[in-house]
């Protein structure tokens, strides 16, 4: 059987398993077992994928399988992965795995919590393996129910408001997507029967007028999930109200769905319109980057800081994609992975710190380095990765992006790049400010002395996220070169008409 189906079957079986557990202990063990299996499957998938590549199998997508679903509409359940998707799947399984351990202490309606969390993850895995746009959209929408419940029930702060805002804005995004997908579907009739299949759609060159009409729907539809300015406002509220694991999964992986979709569907299938309209979205993405970074400076709540920083970093992903050359797009995908790990680590640590101090306001904390050294050091590592310190993944991603985007000889792209680079400095400001106030200095409260340092499950969660950040930082060439191979078809199609 195709290994990709396992990535759907394991979470579904895990959910069924959790239904039969009795209390929160059983539920979390079941979830942990399931997601460990999922992580192992993802690792095996990556290894066997590149083993096949090495053996000389050159098809763009491997592990293909196809099953006709709605015959008259030519809708298939069709799966396959390329060099980008396998890495995204690995990223997703790492983040979910870490998320389970970061929410080890959830006791309130624990079974429902883990079921929703794993259903949310199922949507993500399904999205990355789907080749049929209908199935892809189905999995994308699958995240709506659990997301609303997770934030609404287990969240903090103005959770009802945030959950509603996030759900409705993302639904609005998928509303645009429906129009775009139907446009692709019906215009594919030019080359045979109508189809949702990505591979077949990518062989068609759509008429320019049609591309102009549908590209904004698809790009903005996915862009909302990728926090495209000015439609990013769900992100700060949503991420700060969500429970730890959901913030991790949402900022770490779901926002990458947006970037991935922009690249894989909008730009890949409608390349001429992408070329033509990139400048509009480039301006918006540049605003996202700078605005997000400045927004983070003013925040006092740790989660808000990180949410705004996510807006900035995800803006960088869209920015790099829209630069549309090999180097920058390569950087964009590395940034997706790097930011996914980094922001998940951040949110995990914030959750753990909040569990001890019961506040997320940085003005009310200080000197944590003395009492919880393990978590504090991890926080510093996440911070340094975020501001782009060499040796960690953030540096690799940002350098690649900026080198790539500066390759454009014209003024517009260069000015945009220069403006975007200022975010590096601003990022350093807000990261170092938090590190200084939160971790260093005098211990603020006496009760801090009684704080236990990281428990075993917290350590697992943190280590599993730090390891890949460091590996990518020190040895980026394998990831980078495999991504470049996978990007080739996309870049060829994008630049074919230049």
């Amino acid at each position: 059987m195709n290994i990709l189906n396992l990535l759907i079957i394991i979470p579904v079986l895990t959910v069924i398993g959790i239904v039969f557990t009795k209390d929160f202990k059983g539920a979390r063990v079941a979830a942990a077992v399931g997601m460990t299996l999922q992580l192992i499957t993802a690792v095996i998938l990556v290894i066997s994928f590149f083993a096949q590549r090495k053996a000389g199998i050159t098809g763009e997508f491997l592990f293909l399988s196809d099953f006709t679903w709605f015959k008259t509409l030519n809708i298939h359940y069709s799966v396959g992965v390329d060099g980008i998707a396998v890495w995204m799947l690995l990223l997703a399984s790492i983040v979910v795995f870490a998320g389970i351990f970061a929410s080890w202490q959830v006791e309130y309606l624990a079974r429902e919590f883990f079921i929703s969390l794993i259903l949310l993850a199922t949507g993500v895995f399904g999205f990355f393996i789907s080749l049929d746009l209908f199935t892809m959209f189905l999995f994308y929408e699958l995240a709506v129910i659990p997301m609303y419940l997770l934030i609404g029930i287990w969240g903090s702060g103005p959770k009802e408001y945030s959950a509603m805002k996030l759900t409705l804005m993302l639904m609005g995004g998928s509303a645009l997507l429906v129009v775009g997908l139907l446009g692709l579907y019906f215009y594919s009739s030019a080359a045979g029967p109508v189809t949702f299949n990505l591979l077949e759609l990518s062989k068609i060159s759509f008429p320019l007028a049609m591309q102009r009409f549908f590209f904004p729907f698809l790009f903005v539809g996915f862009g909302i999930l990728g926090a495209l300015f000015p439609l990013h406002t769900w992100s700060p509220d949503g991420h700060s109200s969500a429970p730890t694991a959901v913030s991790m999964l949402h900022a770490g992986v779901l926002m990458k769905l947006g970037g991935y979709g922009c690249m894989r569907v909008a730009m890949f299938l409608l390349p001429e319109a992408a070329q033509e309209m990139s400048w509009i979205f480039l301006i918006l993405a540049t605003i996202s980057i700078v605005y997000g970074a400045f927004g983070a400076i003013w925040q006092k709540d740790l989660k808000y800081i990180n949410a705004y920083s996510s807006v900035s970093h995800c803006g960088l992903v869209l920015f790099a994609l829209l630069m549309m050359n090999r180097t920058s797009m390569n950087g964009a995908v590395i940034q997706m992975i790097s930011h996914g790990l980094m922001t998940a680590l951040f949110f995990a640590l914030i959750g753990m710190i909040y569990g001890r101090t019961h506040t997320r306001n940085i003005d009310q904390m200080g000197g944590l380095m003395n009492v919880i050294p393990f978590l504090s050091v991890a926080y510093v590592i996440a911070g340094l990765a975020s501001l782009g310190l060499p040796g960690l993944s953030g540096f690799v991603a940002e350098m690649t992006i900026f080198i790539g985007s500066f390759q454009h000889p014209d003024t517009f792209h260069r000015v945009a790049t220069i403006i975007a680079t200022t975010s590096i400095v601003v990022t350093a400001v807000y990261i170092l400010r938090v590190v200084g106030k939160l971790l260093l200095g005098q211990i603020r409260e006496k009760e801090y002395l009684e704080f236990p340092d990281a428990k075993w499950y917290e350590r697992i969660s943190v280590v599993v996220l730090i390891l890949p950040i460091a590996i990518i930082g020190f040895y980026p060439s394998y990831l980078s070169s495999t991504l470049l191979d996978a990007l080739n078809p996309i870049i060829e199609r994008l630049t074919a008409m230049l």
Partner: protein, 474 residues
């Protein structure tokens, strides 16, 4: 005409038989045994539902007045299933003391409306269609006023009968013009004489207006909320699912069969009605507190979505509409089942009463949650497939702007469906509805609904079957 050809009217004849059996049975049951009529009626009706799934030859009777095709048989089956689920859900309500004397009536009236709907769907001329329509409407008013000592119920009954009379009048007025210009009431003859004639267009617009009353499209929807609120919950459920479904089916059949040559007239008309219905229905649903009114506006909005499918005009359009209605039956009846169970137990019908329902009645609130998400069109439940295919039908016509309006409306609708979910799962309450045990007929009905909500979406063979038996203009 030989005896065997009566087989074409199988479902109608069986239903008439059940009505007669119940009438006679009611005479011979003593007062204290009246409640046995409930099980008897339900079981007989369940058998009829099952029988209608058996294959049937296609053909026509009475010189084309009555037509049986595979799609009409399937449509009747959808309505039968809806009726059967409603009967299951009415068990405890009918067992109440004040209803003891009128159990037989309930079954007879509902089955009579079903007979009317069946004749309407199978009709081959306007006369048969009109008779069927009236038979489907007049008992409905009696049903709405079933709790005759409740003011609201009586009000619902009188409102329903008055608006029905008005809409029937409008419909007949329109039909008279069509008869006058074409010289026939038979669909087969009318179709060849329909053309670019302004008198005909005039008559056609009145016909659409008359049908719009029955399907409760905006601006002909004003009766809906009051009637839904006033009528007993189970009657409301029947009204919103079966009654509406039948009207949608016959509207679609006549548009496709009779008015196929003037698509240029009805497409813009339906376009406008669809936009108005979706938008107004949604905007009014946003602020409803009473769940029955809430479901009324929700069902108005859903009718707007259905128009997207009808408008397509081809085989795809009919398939998506029938498929959507099939899903809608299970989804809406699941919601009404929960509402009815709770209203039966506690008499509460407001969204705010449902606060913290998950704590006390987790199963009921999960079912309501599923049906809310199915109505909103969120996967993995079937509503997603139903809605997406309706959008596909509109997209096939190239109405991308209409699709956009529809999908944005679906987003707005998610807001109010989430309000119910929020009340049940998120909001905290000091005195939530106490835990209670749902009676077993209700359980069975909810189980059927949930199975339907999960199964129909993924089961592509159902879609395939509908697609094979559907017909379109081209």
């Amino acid at each position: 005409m030989d005896i065997a050809s009566f087989n074409l009217m199988r479902n109608e004849l069986i239903l008439v038989g059940i009505v007669l059996i119940l009438l006679i049975a009611e005479i011979f049951t003593k007062n204290e045994n009246k409640h046995k009529l409930i099980s008897m009626g339900t079981i007989l009706f369940g058998v009829a539902t099952l029988i209608n799934f058996l294959p049937l030859p296609e053909g026509q009777l009475f010189g084309g007045s009555f037509q049986t095709t595979r799609i009409t048989v399937f449509m009747k089956s959808i309505l039968n299933m809806g009726g059967f689920i409603v009967f299951l859900q009415s068990f405890t309500w009918l067992k109440r003391e004040e209803n003891n004397g009128k159990i037989g009536e309930f079954f007879i009236l509902i089955i009579s409306t079903l007979i009317g709907m069946n004749f309407m769907i199978s009709s081959g001329d306007f006369l048969m269609m009109y008779i069927g329509l009236e038979l489907a409407t007049i008992p409905m008013a009696a049903l709405a006023a079933y709790e005759k000592f409740s003011e609201k119920s009586a009000e619902a009954g009188i409102k329903l009968i008055l608006t029905s009379a008005l809409s029937s009048g409008i419909l007949l007025y329109g039909l008279s013009f069509i008869y006058g210009t074409t010289g026939s009431i038979y669909f087969a003859d009318v179709v060849s004489n329909v053309g670019n004639n302004s008198l005909q267009t005039f008559g056609f617009v009145f016909f659409v207006a008359g049908m719009a009353f029955k399907i409760s499209l905006v601006p002909f929807h004003l009766w809906t909320a009051d009637v839904y609120e006033g009528a007993p919950v189970n009657v409301t459920a029947y009204l919103s699912v079966v009654s509406k479904g039948a009207a949608v089916f016959i509207f679609m059949i006549i548009l496709y069969r009779v008015f196929s040559s003037i698509t240029a007239v009805w497409e813009p008309l339906l376009y406008t009605l669809a936009v108005a219905t979706m938008t107004i229905g949604n905007l009014f649903a946003l602020r409803q507190e009473n769940l029955k009114r809430f479901m009324a506006f929700s069902s108005i909005a859903q009718a707007g979505f259905i128009l997207l499918g009808i408008m397509q005009g081809g085989q795809l359009g009919m398939t998506t509409v029938v498929y959507f209605m099939l899903i809608y039956v299970f989804t809406n009846l699941a919601a009404f089942g929960v509402i009815s169970a709770i209203s039966e137990q506690t008499g509460k019908e407001n969204i705010s009463d449902y606060t913290s329902l998950y704590k006390t009645n987790p199963k009921l609130s999960l079912i309501l949650l599923l049906s809310m998400f199915s109505l909103a069109g969120i996967p993995p439940v079937a509503g997603f497939f139903g809605k997406f295919f309706l959008f596909t039908a509109a997209g096939a016509k190239g109405y991308y702007i209409l699709v956009l309006i529809a999908v944005l409306n679906a987003t707005v609708s998610l807001y109010y469906y989430l309000r119910v979910v929020k009340a049940m799962l998120i909001d905290k309450s000091d005195n939530p509805i106490a835990t209670f045990k749902t009676p077993w007929p209700m359980r069975i009905s909810l189980l059927i609904c949930v199975a339907g909500i999960f199964f129909i979406g993924f089961a592509s063979f159902i879609y395939q079957y509908i697609s094979n038996i559907s017909f379109g203009i081209n």
